[in-house]
Symmetry: C2
Subunit: 520 residues, 2 copies
C-alpha cells in the first residue's frame, strides 16, 4: 500500500436491529473446505515473489508476474483474461548490479540498493566520501570545484542514532483494539496533528525543491554518487521514492539508499575527521518502449439473465518497490484475491453477477492503476461525470495491508453496509474475523472506487511486522508470509464475493461525492 | 564471548551475617563523578569498532585496534604498556571484497559474508546454483563430474522457514530473574538436557567429519563456491567457524555464509525445479608472517611497599568475528575496562596493589589469549604446577556479555567472596547493580583464571539484544552500544578495582582445582 492512515467518519451503527441479511451455510462450508484444506495461496505467492521478483511499475519483474497471472487465470478457467492498459505511466526500471563497500578505514560491504529510477555508475567507481552539510543551495558554494568524482554523504540533523527495540516486531490486533474500532461512532474524527496542514505541505514542498536544487548542483559539480540514509535497523532498510519515471525526466546522479548502520558508520567517521573511501559498481536499466501501464483482469462471468451485467470486483495492487520482492506489499493481497477466485472456480460457483478480479499496477506511485481504470470505465472523480457502468458495480473489495489475517472490514463511512457485512462475518468469528467499523482507511486502491461513488472496501488486517520490517523494505520477502493468515483471508474474501454476487440487491451506496471545485 | 552457558554451583550464602566489608565513600564519589559525568567510553568504543573495524584473531583489524590501545594507554599515562605474545596462533585473515548476487530468475544482491579463513573466488564467477542433498559422502556419487565450476547450495532438513518475532529483540533482566539468581543455593545444578552428552558429542564429531569429507569431495569436483545457511532474520545473520587458521591448513573451497532470506529464496526455487544462477566476486587475504598471538597489557603500578607486587587484573577480549565490528562482542567489554582504567587515572588513584588491564586475543577460538597468558605467567591448569606469581593475583574481573549494564556479579562458586562483593555493590544499587549469585557463568576469559585457582569473575549484565541480533552477527555494530549502560558498567568496575587494590587481604580463594587425570 502507498500509505496507511485511518480517520473516523460516518454515522453511528445499530447493527443488531438491522441484521436481516441472509447467508448461505452450504456454500460457506464448501468455500471453507477448499480455502482452508486445499489452499494454493502459498504457491501463488511463491510465483509472484520468489519467481517473478521485484515488481516496480513497468519493470520486467512486474511484466513477468503479470504474464504468469494471465497464464494462471487461464489455467483455472477464468474468462476475459487480459492485460488492460489504464493510461500512460512512463519508464520502467530495474537493478542489474548493486555493489558498494567502504574501503577506508577498512573494507566492509554495504547493505543498500539504488534508489528507484536512478542511473548506474557507468562502471566501477572508487572515491573518497565527502560529508556535506547543506540546508540551501548556497551552502554548497564552499564545495565548488571540490566534488568532481567524489561520493557524497549528507550530514542532516534529522538523522538520529539507532535505538534498541524493546517491543516485538510483529503484533496482532488485540480484542480491545478491535472493540474500539467496532464502537467507533458518528462524527468521530481522529485527532489532528498539531500545526497547520497547509503550512506543513508548503514546508514539505519547499524542502523537496531545495533537495532537488542541491542534487542539480551536485550534478553540475560532477559528483560520482549520492548516498541517502534509509530508515530501518539490523540490516532491514526502507526504500523511498527515487528519481522521476517520466519519459522526459531530467538526468540525475546515481543515488544509493543504504542501511542505517552503514550510513551512520560513515557519518560518525566523517564527523570525527576520519577519511572514508568507498567503491561501488551500480548498473540499472530503463524501459521506455511502452510507457503505458497495465492491470491484469480476469472474470467468472455472471449467469443470471438480469444480474450478469452487474459486477463484483476484487483486487489488490500487484506492483511493489524494488529492494525486495514485495511479499507483504502486496503479493500477499494479490495472492489472497487470486486464491479467492481459484476457490470459487474450484467449488464450481456459477455467480449471478459477474465476478471480476483486477491486479493493479503503479499503486505505489499514487493508486495510478486503479484510478486510471476507474476513469476509463466508471467516470471522472473530478467532475463526477459518470459512465453508465458506474451503477453496475455492486462493490469493490481490496486487500493491501500485509500478510495479517482479515479481522473484519472498514465501512469507509458506509453505514448501511454495516449490518450486511456483520452477518457475512458471523460464520468466520472462529477465524478471528468479526469486526465491522464505520472507520475509513486510506492509502490504497479502494479509494479510487470510493471517489467515484462505488462502494469500495478494504478489510481490517492484523498488522504483524508490516510497519517494523516489511512495508517498502529490503526484507519484504516470502519469508514474511504467514500461511495460516493468507488461507483465512482468501476464504473470507471468497465468501464475501459469493454473497455480494448472489444478493438480491446491490450493496447500499453512500451519497455521491461532490465534484471538485473548478479552479478559476 | 565464545558461548554463553550458566550452571549453578557452590554452597549457600548467608550474606547479611558476614557483611563487615568496608567501602570508601569518598573514592566512590570521585569514581562516579568521573565515570558518569565525564565518560569517554563511547569515544573508546568508536575507535575500537568504527575506526579499527572487524578484529578477527591475528587480522590487520585487530592489529590496528591493538596499536591504538597501546597509544591510548600511553596517552593516559599507564605504565608497562605492551603487546605481549601469548603463544602460537596461526594465520590472520581478512575480507578484501564481498560481492554476491542471484542473476536468475532475477537480479538480487545477496546479504552475506565469506566464512572466516576461506579463500576468495580468484576473480568473478558466474554459474548455476546446484542443490545438493547429501548426508554422507557416497550421496555425492550421483553428482560426479557434474559440479565443476558450479555453485553449491545444500538442502538440509535442519533448515527451517523463518518465523515472525512476537517477542522484543532487546530485554533487560527482571527483578524476579535477578532475585532467583541471588537465591541460588548450594548444590543447585541446572537441569541437564535430555540425551547422553557423550553420545551427543560423538554425533556432533561424526557430523563434522562427514561435512569435512563432503567439502573435500566437492573440492575434488572443482565446484566454484559453497553456500552456507546463516541463522538470523531481517538482514541480520550470524557467522560461525570457517576453515582452519592453522599455518598448515589444507586448501578448501571458497564458502559464503548468506542471510537466511537469501538462502531460503534459492532453496525454495531449487526445490521447485526453477533454475538459479549466481555471480560472485570474493577476495580474501591471509597473514602468516607472524603466527604469534598477542594481548595488550597496561598497568597502574602499585604504590604500597608490600602490596605493589600483588595484582588486580581486569580484562575482556578484544578480538571479534569478521562480519561486523564486534561492538557488543566485545568492544563493549573492552571499552568499559579501558574506561575503568581511564577513570582511575583521572581521579589520580595511587593503588596499593598494581592494577593491570589485559585485552585478550583469540578468545573466539577458545579463550586462547587468556589461557596462553595464564599458562605463561601463573601455571598449567592440566598439571596444576603453579608459578610463584599465581599467589600474587588477588582477583581477575572480566566483561564480555554485550552492551547491557552490570547488574551484579557471578561468584563462580566462590562463596566467601559473596559478602565482600555485596558490600561493594551497595553504593550502586541506584544504578540497578545489586545482585550477587553463587552461580557460574562460562564461555569467556575469567575461566582461564578460575582454572588455575585465581579468583576470576564475570559480571551479570542485562542481555539486551545480544542473543537476537548482535552476538557473532553482521549487525554487531556501534549502533547497538547503549551509552548509559557502558558508563554505569565502567563506573562499577573502577570501584571494584579500587576496593580490590586497597583491601587489606586478597579476595578469598576457592579450593585449588585438581590436575586433569593423566592419559594412559
Amino acid at each position: 500500500m502507498k500509505r496507511f492512515t485511518t480517520t473516523l467518519l460516518g454515522l453511528g451503527l445499530c447493527l443488531s436491529a438491522m441484521a436481516q441479511e441472509k447467508t448461505d451455510p452450504a456454500a460457506i462450508q464448501k468455500i471453507r473446505k477448499e480455502g482452508l484444506e486445499n489452499s494454493k495461496v502459498m504457491d501463488i505467492a511463491f510465483h509472484i515473489t520468489d519467481v517473478a521478483g521485484p515488481r516496480l511499475a513497468n519493470s520486467p519483474g512486474l511484466k513477468r508476474a503479470q504474464e504468469w497471472a494471465v497464464k494462471q487465470f487461464n489455467e483455472w478457467g477464468l474468462k476475459n483474461v487480459q492485460l488492460e492498459a489504464w493510461g500512460n505511466f512512463g519508464k520502467g526500471w530495474q537493478i542489474d548490479k548493486y555493489y558498494a563497500a567502504t574501503t577506508l578505514p577498512f573494507y566492509h560491504a554495504i547493505i543498500g540498493s539504488p534508489k528507484a529510477w536512478t542511473p548506474g555508475t557507468n562502471g566501477p567507481v572508487k572515491a573518497e566520501v565527502i560529508l556535506i552539510k547543506a540546508d540551501t543551495v548556497t551552502d554548497l558554494d564552499k564545495y565548488k570545484g571540490k566534488l568532481a568524482g567524489k561520493i557524497i554523504l549528507f550530514d542532516q540533523m534529522t538523522i538520529q542514532p539507532l535505538k534498541n527495540t524493546y517491543k516485538p516486531d510483529a503484533v496482532r490486533l488485540t480484542d480491545s483494539a478491535l472493540n474500539a474500532m467496532a464502537a467507533a461512532e458518528a462524527g468521530q474524527v481522529a485527532a489532528r496533528r498539531p500545526g497547520n496542514p497547509n503550512n506543513m505541505m508548503a514546508q514539505m514542498l519547499k524542502m523537496r525543491a531545495t533537495r532537488a536544487a542541491i542534487a542539480d548542483r551536485l550534478k553540475e559539480e560532477n559528483a560520482a554518487l549520492l548516498l541517502a540514509f534509509a530508515r530501518g535497523n539490523h540490516g532491514t532498510f526502507f526504500t523511498s521514492n527515487g528519481a522521476s519515471y517520466a519519459l522526459d525526466a531530467k538526468a540525475v546522479l546515481p543515488e544509493l539508499e543504504i542501511s542505517a548502520e552503514d550510513y551512520l558508520h560513515m557519518l560518525r567517521l566523517l564527523r570525527a575527521g576520519q577519511k572514508v573511501e568507498m567503491e561501488a559498481d551500480i548498473k540499472t536499466s530503463f524501459y521506455d518502449q511502452d510507457p503505458q501501464g497495465y492491470n491484469v483482469i480476469a472474470e467468472i462471468p455472471g449467469t443470471d439473465k438480469k444480474l450478469k451485467e452487474e459486477l463484483v470486483i476484487i483486487g489488490g495492487h500487484y506492483d511493489s518497490w524494488h529492494a525486495a520482492t514485495g511479499a507483504t506489499d502486496n503479493a500477499a493481497g494479490s495472492a489472497v484475491m487470486m486464491e479467492a477466485m481459484r476457490i470459487l472456480k474450484a467449488i464450481d460457483f456459477k455467480p449471478k453477477r459477474t465476478v471480476r478480479i483486477v491486479l493493479w499496477s503503479s499503486e505505489e506511485q499514487g493508486l495510478l492503476g486503479s484510478r486510471g481504470y476507474v476513469l476509463k470505465h466508471f467516470g471522472d472523480p473530478k467532475t463526477m461525470v459518470l459512465t453508465p457502468d458506474q451503477k453496475k458495480v455492486s462493490a469493490y473489495y481490496n486487500l493491501d495491508n500485509g500478510t495479517g489475517a482479515i479481522r473484519g472490514i472498514y465501512l469507509q463511512g458506509n453505514k448501511e453496509a454495516g449490518p450486511i457485512f456483520q452477518e457475512w462475518l458471523n460464520p468466520f468469528s472462529d477465524l478471528g474475523a468479526k469486526t465491522v467499523t464505520i472507520n475509513n482507511t486510506g492509502g490504497t486502491d479502494h479509494q479510487a472506487f470510493d471517489a467515484i461513488g462505488i462502494p469500495g472496501f478494504q478489510f481490517i488486517q492484523d498488522p504483524m511486522d508490516y510497519n517494523t520490517r516489511t512495508h517498502h523494505s529490503n526484507q519484504d520477502t516470502y519469508d514474511r508470509l504467514v500461511e495460516e493468515d493468507l488461507k483465512r483471508s482468501a476464504t473470507i474474501v471468497a465468501s464475501f464475493v459469493y454473497h455480494t454476487s448472489e444478493r438480491a440487491a446491490q450493496i447500499p451506496r453512500k451519497e455521491l461525492p461532490k465534484p471538485a471545485p473548478v479552479n478559476p
